[in-house]
């Protein structure tokens, strides 16, 4: 494997990655992946994943023993170069290589790790089964139950916003195993085979017409006891431990993509002359906004770098991740909104955007509407602000209802 691990300097590592990208990133994948069907999307993602895997770039954050082992600095460089080369995103494998792997590494048994980590490298797809219809951002109030029945649990309930569930082989499932316990107690964490009888997946169309969010209906689904991760009724803690393994690298990737393809496309559209020959960028107001976005993206990148560095030194603050997520998602929304404004009426005729892209596709209206996928899921912007205020700044909590 050609990584920088073996004494190579970071500059050498960057050169290696850049060179690899020049050779391996598919050309014009954006064009080719616009408007394709589901099968082609999955095939494209799996192939790209294997190509990255071959170079040692698919799971850089995993321990070396399992196929990863890049340092934080190398991972940052990797994401910078992939973004600079406008490589496709790893959308399909996202939960597998991040949440599933983190869960297994942090709380799984050896048996569970050996069963799943190599499989994930071979393309096993996972889905997260946390959210529920009535719970929304309030995870502690989840209602799906798992009742003990001999050597298994019988699961009943419904999951929502399960991204990519139609393609998933396995599910990270939170379910209530002790209905009498207080809200955050009595929840257990399971690995659930999506081919189990009683699992039904129904895609939900989102605001841009895509269907990667899904509902999962669980009807007397039997999950063996061996599928439990961590102790029974300690699922909440397992979920928290999983979250704690996220070290800011996803935000680095998103910031780099916004700073590369995203901003480049924005400058491009500002330079495109209208029918009357006038370029938006010839307007001082447009230049002012562009310079503002350039500045904010620079700030975002620095925030991300700081987050990664503080994870490395163990000095990360309790709200640091929320600051970055909030700032990124609202910046993305403002930037794509401005893109819509500048691109004018013609922007509305772009009816599809490339799959495997983020919201920096340059299909401005779709990118803008898609930006709510960042301000709502994973804790709405409102919830991030509360976290920042209470945990980051130590402001008193809102009084609980009488």
């Amino acid at each position: 494997m050609t990584t920088g691990r073996d004494g190579a300097t970071l500059a050498e590592f960057r050169a290696t990655v850049r060179d690899w990208c020049r050779r391996e990133v598919p050309t014009d994948w954006r064009g080719a992946q616009t408007g394709v069907g589901d099968d082609e999307y999955v095939a494209f993602q799996q192939e790209w994943f294997q190509r990255l895997r071959g170079a040692g770039y698919a799971v850089p954050h995993w321990p070396a023993a399992w196929g990863g082992g890049l340092s934080s600095a190398e991972q940052v460089i990797l994401y910078q170069e992939l973004a600079a080369a406008d490589a496709p995103r790893l959308v399909l494998a996202f939960v597998s290589i991040h949440h599933a792997a983190a869960t297994l590494l942090a709380a799984g048994t050896d048996e569970q790790r050996r069963r799943h980590l190599p499989a994930i490298l071979d393309g096993e797809i996972w889905v997260q089964g946390f959210s529920e219809p009535e719970a929304g951002s309030d995870l502690a109030s989840l209602r799906t139950t798992a009742r003990r029945d001999g050597d298994a649990f019988v699961v009943n309930g419904q999951k929502l916003w399960a991204s990519g569930a139609v393609h998933a082989d396995w599910c990270l499932l939170l379910a209530r195993t002790d209905p009498a316990a207080p809200k955050r107690r009595g929840i257990s964490y399971f690995l659930m085979d999506m081919r189990s009888p009683g699992v039904e997946v129904r895609p939900i169309r989102n605001a841009v017409g895509e269907s990667h969010f899904c509902e999962i209906f669980l009807n007397d689904v039997r999950v063996p006891r061996s599928a439990l991760v961590g102790a029974e009724n300690a699922g909440w803690q397992v979920a928290q431990a999983t979250l704690a393994t996220e070290r800011g690298m996803t935000m680095v990737e998103l910031a780099e993509r916004l700073g590369n393809a995203g901003f480049r496309r924005l400058v491009e559209v500002c330079r495109t002359p209208s029918a009357s020959g006038r370029r938006p960028i010839d307007d001082a107001r447009v230049r002012d906004r562009l310079a503002g976005f350039d500045t904010e993206i620079t700030g975002l990148r620095a925030l991300c770098a700081g987050l990664v560095a503080r994870h490395d030194t163990g000095t990360v603050g309790p709200a640091d991740a929320s600051v970055v997520k909030l700032y990124y998602s609202e910046l993305l929304q403002r930037l794509t909104d401005f893109g819509v404004e500048i691109a004018g009426l013609a922007a509305h005729t772009e009816l599809t955007k490339p799959i495997s892209s983020g919201w920096e596709a340059g299909a401005w209206v779709l990118d803008f509407i898609g930006s709510w996928e960042w301000t709502i899921p994973g804790g709405t912007s409102e919830i991030q602000r509360t976290i920042i205020a209470e945990r980051g700044l130590g402001l008193p909590r809102e009084p609980v209802k009488a």
Binding site: A207, V208, G209, E341, L345, H348, V365, K401
Partner: protein
């Protein structure tokens, strides 16, 4: 049909018209939008309730009302995110005809417009560029050759008659009466993300289209003022539409926040939601005043109408996108689903912001009066 004869209290008439509209469009209860797809409004019904002929003189079968009343209907169509050819036929089409020199032909068309058959589309500039899109050259045989292109023309695909804004050989604005399918004339439907709208391009390229002298209609009075007035109609109509959509989004969000519970209480009891809704309410209140003022100014033919519509459009165009966006945000995950229908409004508002001039383009126009002569 409501009586718009003089002396009646306009505010009351508008309230009545609004109530009828909400009833007809199924938005009477306010509340959450139920729109998921672009369901067209029944065209015959619009004709039957007299909306198509609101501005058509009574003697030609219309209601003899004004653009101020059409503005009420436009706002309600926006509120319902309704798909109809109202803008093309009843606002732009009738507006263009009313601005022409009276003639038997014109009156016949006005009478027809009120009945909804044929439908009209008006070929004029709908983007930031306000130029007149077509021009005529005398063909030396008493007729003309038409060339030019109008893009993103509302309700073009459904239109059986076209009114194209053109410069005559002397450079003066005139209206060319024609139909889709005429030789040399290209009509293309342009699908947009906002599925509740119909937009299309009409062009006469290459050798152009042959136009006879009797197809060329002149404006009454100052043709430039008439052309500007026609564009102002489009601007006002889009502002009304965005206002209505914004109102619907505010209502839907408030209704949702009252009932949706999280963390054991209605989300509407959280200050973050309360204060966000308060800001939306303020923006809707300001927008409503600006739109009302613009509608009054247009209806009265005020000299300053252009300024009033630019203000209304620039304010409401921007605010409506923010309001629909905030509605999506405050609806949480549900709001981002296709089913919830918020996206329908968001797309309509985003398109509405650009149609007939972006806020920035209108503000640039408004600022001309302050700039004064250049010094230094």
């Amino acid at each position: 049909m409501i009586d718009f004869t003089e002396g009646a209290d306009l505010a009351e008439l508008h309230d009545e018209l609004r109530a009828v509209a909400r009833d007809l469009l199924g938005t009477a209860a306010g509340g959450a939008p139920a729109v998921k797809e672009a369901t067209p409004v029944d065209w015959e019904q619009l004709a039957a309730v007299g909306w198509l002929g609101l501005e058509v003189p009574e003697e030609l079968g219309g209601a003899g009302a004004s653009l101020a009343e059409a503005a009420v209907v436009l706002t309600e169509l926006g509120r319902a995110a309704a798909r109809s050819s109202y803008l093309g036929t009843a606002v732009l089409g009738v507006g263009a005809l009313l601005a022409l020199e009276p003639s038997a032909g014109r009156d016949e068309l006005l009478r027809a417009a009120a009945t909804g058959a044929p439908r009209f589309a008006v070929g004029l500039a709908t983007g930031d560029d306000e130029d007149i899109p077509f021009h005529l050259r005398a063909d030396g045989r008493g007729g003309f050759t038409l060339r030019g292109e109008a893009r993103f023309v509302p309700d073009l695909a459904e239109a059986e008659r076209l009114l194209l804004l053109a410069r005559d050989p002397d450079g003066q604005p005139v209206v060319v009466l024609t139909e889709p399918g005429r030789p040399g004339l290209d009509v293309v439907d342009v699908p947009v993300l906002d599925a509740t709208r119909s937009l299309g391009d009409v062009s006469a390229a290459g050798a152009g289209a042959v136009v006879s002298a009797d197809q060329v209609a002149r404006f009454r009075g100052d043709p430039w003022a008439a052309a500007r007035g026609l564009r102002d109609r489009g601007v006002l109509a889009t502002a009304c539409d965005s206002l209505g959509a914004a109102e619907a989004m505010l209502d839907a969000t408030v209704a949702y926040a009252r009932v949706r519970e999280q963390f054991g209480r209605p989300i509407g009891s959280f200050q973050a939601v309360q204060h966000a809704c308060a800001d939306l309410f303020v923006a809707v209140s300001v927008g409503r005043e600006l739109v009302a003022a613009a509608a009054r100014a247009c209806a009265a033919g005020d000299q300053d109408a252009g300024r009033a519509v630019a203000m209304a459009k620039s304010y409401v165009g921007g605010a409506a996108v923010e309001i629909a966006g905030k509605a999506m945000q405050l609806h949480g995950g549900i709001g981002y689903t296709w089913e919830a229908g918020i996206h329908v409004y968001l797309k309509r508002c985003v398109l509405g912001r650009a149609l007939f001039g972006t806020p920035a383009a209108h503000r640039a126009r408004l600022a001309e009066r302050f700039a004064g002569p250049r010094r230094g």
